[in-house]
Symmetry: C2
Subunit: 219 residues, 2 copies
DNA sequence: GTCTATAGTCAGATAGAC
DNA sequence: GTCTATCTGACTATAGAC
C-alpha cells in the first residue's frame, strides 16, 4: 500500500486551523477576513462555513485544539509532583506553554502568542471560552499553592496568582516588534528552558514576597 | 455672563475621545465602527473624519491624550526620588497608571484598561506608536534600575523589566469578567493604594530574586 | 463646524452545481 | 466535500448643502 493513500482524515480542517492560528495572531480576529484565511489555507472560501459553521465556531476550535491538551498536561504534571513545593508547582504550570515557543515548525508558536494576546481580548465570548477551558487546571493549581503556602492569606495568594499569570501571558505574547524595553537578546527569546528558569526565579520570589502591613490588614 | 456661555473649546473632540476610549476598550479597534462611536458620543457620523481625519488618527489621539502626560509624570516622579532604590523606582513607575483605575468618572479607568490590552495588540502600527510614546520613560527607568542594582547582569535586568511590565499590563487590563482564578475580592480591584502595595511587594521580590546558575551562564 | 446622503468597498454567509 | 457565484448588510470616507 503506497504511503500517499494514508491521507489525513481532515486535511482541510487542519489547514484552516493552521492558517487561522497564524492570521489571528498577526491581525486579530476581526482583522482577519474569511477570504484572507481561506486563501492562506489554500482552500475554498466556503470551506470554513462548511467545516466549522461560522467564523466564531472556528475561533473556538482554534483554542480547543491546543488548549485542552495543554491544560490536561498541566494537571497531570501537577499530580506527578512528589513534593509539591511552590517552585515545582510554578514550573509544572509554565512548562507546557513554554515548550510551545520552541516549536517553530508546527503552528504551536503561533498559537502560544495568540493565546497570550487573547487573555486580554475585548470580546466577551472569547474571554468566557478561555476561562472555561482553564477552570479545571486553575482550580487544582490554586489548591496546590494553598497547601504549599499555608501561611499565605487566601486573598493575597489569588492576587499573586493573577500577577504570575499576567507575567506569563505578556511574555508569551511579546514579539520581536514589541520592544518597550530595548536590549533584549533575540536568541534567548526562543530558548524555552532558559526562559523557564528566568520566569521561575522571578515568580517564585514574588510568590514568597514578605507580607507588608497593608496587605495583612486587607486580608 | 451665564455659565453656559463658557463652552469647552473642543467639546465635540472630547466627546469623541471619551466615547472612543470606552468602545475601544469594550470591543477593540476593529470591532468599533464609526457609527457606533459617533452615536455613543452624540455627534454626527462625519465628525470623526472632520476632527481627526481618519479612524487611525483618532486611535492615535486617544493614546496621546493620556499617555504623554502619564509618562511625563513617571519621568518627573523618578527625578524627584532622593534615594532611588528599587522599590521606590517601582512605585514611581506604577503610581501614574494605578491612579487612573480609581477615577471612574472621567474615562481614565476605561483608558487604562484599553492600554493594558494594547500592549499585546496585533496591529503593528499601534504597537509602534505605543513603543514610541513609552521610549523616553523606559530609557530612564532602565538606567535608574541599572544604577540601583549594579550587580545584576544587564540582560537579566531587561528580562525582569519585561516581566514587571507584563504583570502591570495584565493587572490593568483585567476586568470583572476575566476571572481565570476565582475568588478575587471585587472591591479591592479599584483600591489603587492597596494594589500598589501588592504589586510592589511582588515585583520588588521578583526583581531581587537570586540568580540561578543557568541565568548566570546566559549573561 | 455640523449635517445628510451616498459612493465605493468588503465583510460573512449560503444556494446549488458537480 | 468542494466549488462558483452571489446575496445582504456593514463598513470608512467624502461631497456638498446649510
Amino acid at each position: 500500500m503506497p504511503l500517499r493513500a494514508i491521507k489525513p482524515q481532515h486535511e482541510t480542517r487542519t489547514r484552516i486551523l493552521d492558517a487561522a492560528e497564524e492570521l489571528f495572531m498577526q491581525h486579530g480576529f476581526e482583522g482577519t477576513s474569511m477570504r484572507a484565511l481561506t486563501t492562506r489555507a489554500g482552500v475554498n472560501l466556503a470551506a470554513v462555513n462548511y467545516h466549522f459553521g461560522s467564523k466564531d465556531a472556528l475561533i473556538e476550535a482554534v483554542f480547543r485544539r491546543r488548549l485542552d491538551p495543554m491544560n490536561a498536561e498541566r494537571i497531570s504534571a501537577l499530580e506527578e509532583l512528589e513534593r509539591p513545593e511552590p517552585e515545582a508547582i510554578i514550573r509544572a504550570f509554565l512548562r507546557p506553554s513554554l515548550r510551545m515557543i520552541e516549536d517553530a515548525k508546527s503552528g504551536e508558536r503561533n498559537f502560544i502568542r495568540l493565546l497570550g494576546r487573547t487573555y486580554t481580548e475585548p470580546t466577551k465570548g472569547i474571554r468566557a471560552l478561555i476561562g472555561q477551558m482553564y477552570a479545571p487546571a486553575m482550580e487544582r493549581y490554586k489548591n496546590a499553592l494553598e497547601r504549599a503556602l499555608p501561611q499565605m492569606p487566601r486573598d493575597e495568594l489569588v492576587w499573586r496568582m493573577h500577577f504570575m499569570f499576567g507575567t506569563l501571558a505578556y511574555t508569551l505574547a511579546a514579539t520581536d516588534t514589541v520592544q518597550l524595553i530595548a536590549g533584549c537578546k533575540p536568541e534567548d527569546r526562543y530558548d524555552a528552558r532558559l526562559l523557564e528558569d528566568r520566569l521561575t526565579a522571578f515568580l517564585a520570589a514574588g510568590l514568597h514576597a514578605p507580607l507588608t502591613s497593608s496587605i495583612k490588614k486587607a486580608a
